[in-house]
C-alpha cells in the first residue's frame, strides 16, 4: 500500500518531467518510449544501483592500496561526506520540484494524516542507489581491516545519507518558498554558488583524495579528537564499540528531527507553493525583442534550480582547463581555456531549449520571427560562457599579461560556436519551434564546431593575431544569417 503510493508518485513525477520536455511532448511515440523506459521505480532503482556500484569501484583502490590501515579508515571517512552532500542537495532540490509539479494535490483531498512521509519516502528511495557508491570502498575497508570495520563503515555511509536527507527536508521546510521577496537576488546567488559547489564536487573529490592521502596523519588526529562531531567510521578501526554507540545516538537524534520535520512538512505541502510578495510593484520595462527573450530566459532560470544548473554547467566543465591554465600560466594554456569555453557554449543549447517548457506556446501567439527568436537564444547561450571567459582571462593576465591576447577570442568565440550550433539545429526550420535533436544534427554540430575551434587553434599557432579575423568572419556570417 505505502509502496504503491510511492510508486504512483514516482510515475507521476516522471510523467510530468518528460511531459515538460518539449522535444518529447511533441512526439507521442518518442514520449511513450521514454516513459516506459524510466516510469518504473523498480527498474530505475535497479539500473541506478548498478551504475553507482560501478562508479564506486573507482573509489576502491583509494582505500585498498594505502599502506597504513588507519590511512584507509581516514580516506573512507572522507568519502562518507559524499552520500550526505548528495542526499542533502537531492532532497532540497527535488522536494521543491516535486511539489511545484502538484504531485501531492490528489492526496490532499484524501484522509491522509502524515502525508509528508510520502514525499520523504519518494526522495529517500530515489536517493538510496547513490549510497551504493560507497559499497566498493566499504568492501575494501573490510578486506583491509576486517568485516566489522566494513559493516560499520557502510552503516555510517547510510547514516550520512539519512542525515543529508533530513537536513534537506529541514532546509526545504525552512526556506523552500518560490523565489521572491526582498532577498531573492541574494538567494539566487547562494543557489548558483551551491550548484557550482556540488557540481565541482567531482574535481574536489579528486583533490581531496590526494590531500587526504598525503596528510592522513594530521587528519586522523583531527577526526579522532572530534569523533563526536565527525563520527564517520574513523573510530571504527580502533574503537568499534564507540562507533556503534555514536551510530545509535546519531540515529536517535536525527531520527527525532526527521519525524518532527516530516510532520511539519505536510502543512507546507498543503499550502502549496506559497510565495512571499516580491517587494513592491515592479515597473514595466521594454527592450528589443531579442534582448527581452534573453532576459525572460534568465529570469526563469534564476527561479528554477534545475534550469540554473543547466545554464551554469559550462562554468563547471571549464574548471579543469582553467586550473591547468592557472598552473602553467602560459599563453597557450590560456588559449586552451578559451577554446574549452567555446565548446561549452555549444553544449548550452540543451539547457537553453528547455527553458520555455510548456509556455513555449506563448511564443506561437506572438509576432516573432525565427531570426529574432534565434538571436534571443544566442544571447542566452553565450552570456554565461562569455562572462566566465572574460573574467577568467583577466584573472589569468595577472599572472601573465600575455594572456590578454586571447581576451577578444573569449568574447567572440562563444558567439561563433553557439551561433553555429543554433544554425545547425534549426537548419530547414522556418518558424519558431523546438528542433528535434537527431544524431545527424548533433554530429554535424560537433563537426562544425570542431572546424571552428580547430581553425582558431591552428591559425593561432601560425600567427596568433590571425585567429581573431577568422572568428570574426564566422560571427559576421552568422549574424548576417540571423538578421536576414
Amino acid at each position: 500500500m505505502e509502496w504503491e503510493i510511492v510508486n504512483v508518485l514516482y510515475r507521476e513525477m516522471t510523467y510530468k518531467r518528460l511531459r515538460a520536455n518539449p522535444q518529447l511532448s511533441t512526439d507521442w511515440n518518442k514520449f511513450i518510449k521514454a516513459f516506459k523506459r524510466s516510469g518504473s521505480l523498480k527498474r530505475t532503482l535497479l539500473s541506478q544501483s548498478i551504475l553507482f556500484g560501478i562508479f564506486g569501484l573507482m573509489l576502491f583502490p583509494g582505500v585498498y592500496y594505502v599502506k597504513d590501515p588507519s590511512g584507509s579508515a581516514v580516506i573512507y571517512a572522507s568519502y562518507c561526506l559524499l552520500p550526505l552532500i548528495m542526499a542533502l542537495y537531492g532532497t532540497a532540490v527535488t522536494a521543491q520540484y516535486a511539489i511545484s509539479l502538484g504531485l501531492f494535490e490528489p492526496l490532499l483531498s484524501l484522509p491522509v494524516r502524515v502525508g509528508g512521509k510520502y514525499l520523504s519516502a519518494l526522495l529517500l528511495i530515489t536517493e538510496l542507489p547513490s549510497t551504493l557508491f560507497l559499497l566498493p570502498p566499504a568492501v575494501a575497508l573490510s578486506l583491509k581491516l576486517g568485516p566489522v570495520a566494513g559493516v560499520l563503515g557502510f552503516a555510517w555511509a547510510l547514516m550520512g545519507a539519512f542525515i543529508g536527507h533530513t537536513l534537506g527536508l529541514l532546509i526545504y521546510d525552512r526556506f523552500g518558498k518560490a523565489s521572491g521577496g526582498k532577498f531573492s537576488g541574494l538567494k539566487t546567488a547562494f543557489k548558483a554558488f551551491g550548484i557550482l559547489l556540488v557540481m565541482s564536487l567531482f574535481y574536489g573529490l579528486n583533490y581531496l583524495q590526494r590531500y587526504v592521502a598525503s596528510h592522513y596523519e594530521t587528519l586522523k588526529g583531527v577526526f579522532e579528537r572530534y569523533s563526536v562531531a565527525y563520527p564517520f567510521s574513523v573510530s571504527t578501526v580502533e574503537k568499534p564499540l564507540l562507533s556503534l554507540g555514536l551510530l545509535a545516538v546519531y540515529g536517535l537524534v536525527i531520527g527525532a528531527v526527521y519525524v518532527l520535520t516530516v510532520r511539519r512538512l505536510w502543512r507546507r505541502i498543503s499550502e502549496g507553493t506559497a510565495t512571499e510578495r516580491r517587494g513592491g510593484r515592479a515597473r514595466l520595462s521594454l527592450h528589443s525583442p531579442a534582448l527581452a527573450l534573453a532576459l525572460k530566459d534568465f529570469k526563469i532560470a534564476t527561479r528554477n534550480t534545475s534550469l540554473l544548473t543547466g545554464l551554469l554547467m559550462p562554468v563547471v566543465v571549464i574548471i579543469p582547463s582553467l586550473a591547468g591554465a592557472l598552473k602553467s600560466g602560459s599563453e597557450g594554456s590560456a588559449l586552451g581555456f578559451v577554446l574549452a569555453v567555446g565548446w561549452t557554449s555549444a553544449i548550452a543549447i540543451d539547457a537553453v531549449l528547455k527553458i520555455d517548457g510548456r509556455a513555449f506556446e506563448v511564443l506561437h501567439s506572438l509576432p516573432l520571427s525565427l531570426r529574432t527568436f534565434l538571436r534571443g537564444k544566442l544571447v542566452t547561450m553565450t552570456t554565461v560562457p562569455i562572462t566566465a571567459g572574460l573574467l577568467a582571462v583577466m584573472g589569468l593576465s595577472l599572472r601573465n599579461p600575455g594572456s590578454l591576447k586571447v581576451l577578444p577570442l573569449a568574447l567572440f568565440l562563444p558567439v561563433a560556436t553557439a551561433g553555429t550550433t543554433l544554425t545547425v539545429f534549426y537548419w530547414g526550420i522556418r518558424e519558431v519551434a523546438l528542433p528535434q535533436t537527431t544524431w545527424k544534427k548533433m554530429l554535424l554540430a560537433l563537426l562544425a564546431n570542431g572546424i571552428i575551434i580547430g581553425g582558431t587553434a591552428g591559425l593561432w599557432y601560425v600567427e596568433w593575431f590571425l585567429s581573431l579575423p577568422f572568428v570574426l568572419l564566422v560571427d559576421v556570417l552568422l549574424l548576417w544569417h540571423l538578421s536576414r
Binding site: A359, H364, P367
Partner: protein, 253 residues
C-alpha cells in the same frame, strides 16, 4: 474583417475541420458554438496564425494567414482556452515581455496595463509569480496580455469560462466597446446564454462542420425552438442521448 473559406485541418489522418466557411464583419461579434471536440479551438488557432490550415483560405484584415502568419499575429489579439503563461514570471514581467516582443511604445503599454489591470482588479497580484495565482487570475493575465497591442481583430477561445461574474461582466463591456470601435471579434463558447447575450451572429459547429449560422433569433425560428439550448441540442442531434443519460444518472443515486 475575417474571411474563412472552406477551411480544412487535418491532424495526421484525423480530419478536425472538414471545410468550414464564415465571415466576420467589422464591428461584429461572431460566436462559434459547439460541443467539446467539435473543432472550435482548432479554428481559433488557425485564425490567430498559430497553426497553419491544411486547406482552404483564411484572410484576417486583408492578410492571408497561410502566407503571412506573423503579420496576422501582429494585428490579432488571441486569448487561448486555458492560459499558457510563463509561470515563473510575475504579471508585470510578462506584460513587459509581450510589450517588448510586440514593440508597443512605453507610454501606450503603461496606460493600457494600468487601465486593464484596474478593470479586472488584479493590482495586488502584479508582483507575484504567475504560477502561484488562481486559475481565474491567470485567465485575467492572459486576457490582458492579449489586449495590450490594441488588436484590430479579436479571437477569444472560451475566454469567459474561468471568470467570476463581475469580471465576466467587464469582459462583455470591453467586447461591446471593441465592437463599437469596429473591430471584428470571434468568440467561441459552449455556454449558450453567453452566446445569446453577446453575439450578433452565431455559427454552430459540430464534428468539424458548420451546420447552421444566423442571428440567435434566426436560429430559433429556423429550428422551431423556444431557446437556443434546444436549437443547439436539436442540431447536434444529442437531445435523445441527453435525456437517456440524465435518466441513467438519476437512477445511479
Amino acid at each position: 474583417m475575417i474571411e474563412v473559406e472552406n477551411l480544412v485541418k487535418r491532424f495526421g489522418g484525423k480530419v478536425a475541420l472538414k471545410g468550414i466557411s464564415f465571415t466576420v464583419r467589422d464591428g461584429e461579434i461572431y460566436g462559434l458554438l459547439g460541443p467539446n471536440g467539435s473543432g472550435k479551438s482548432t479554428t481559433m488557432r488557425i485564425l490567430a496564425g498559430i497553426i497553419p490550415p491544411s486547406d482552404g483560405k483564411v484572410v484576417v484584415e486583408g492578410i492571408d494567414v497561410a502566407e503571412n502568419p506573423i503579420e496576422v499575429k501582429r494585428i490579432v489579439g488571441y486569448i487561448p482556452e486555458t492560459p499558457v503563461l510563463y509561470e515563473s514570471l510575475t504579471p508585470v514581467e510578462f506584460f513587459s515581455f509581450v510589450g517588448s516582443i510586440r514593440g508597443i511604445p512605453k507610454g501606450e503599454l503603461e496606460e493600457r496595463v494600468e487601465r486593464l489591470v484596474k478593470a479586472f482588479g488584479i493590482e495586488e497580484y502584479l508582483g507575484e509569480l504567475i504560477g502561484t495565482l488562481s486559475f481565474g487570475t491567470q485567465q485575467k493575465v492572459s486576457i490582458i496580455a492579449g489586449l495590450l497591442h490594441d488588436p484590430k481583430a479579436l479571437i477569444l477561445d472560451e475566454a469567459i469560462n474561468g471568470l467570476d461574474p463581475k469580471s465576466a461582466r467587464i469582459m462583455k463591456e470591453l467586447l461591446n466597446g471593441f465592437k463599437e470601435e469596429g473591430k471584428s471579434i470571434v468568440f467561441s463558447t459552449h455556454i449558450l446564454a453567453v452566446a445569446e447575450a453577446l453575439c450578433d451572429r452565431i455559427g454552430i459547429i459540430y464534428n468539424g462542420e458548420l451546420i447552421a449560422e444566423g442571428t440567435p433569433e434566426e436560429l430559433k425560428r429556423f429550428a422551431h425552438e423556444e431557446s437556443l439550448e434546444d436549437v443547439f441540442l436539436k442540431l447536434t442531434e444529442s437531445q435523445e442521448e441527453v435525456s437517456s443519460l440524465v435518466r441513467a444518472l438519476r437512477e445511479a443515486f
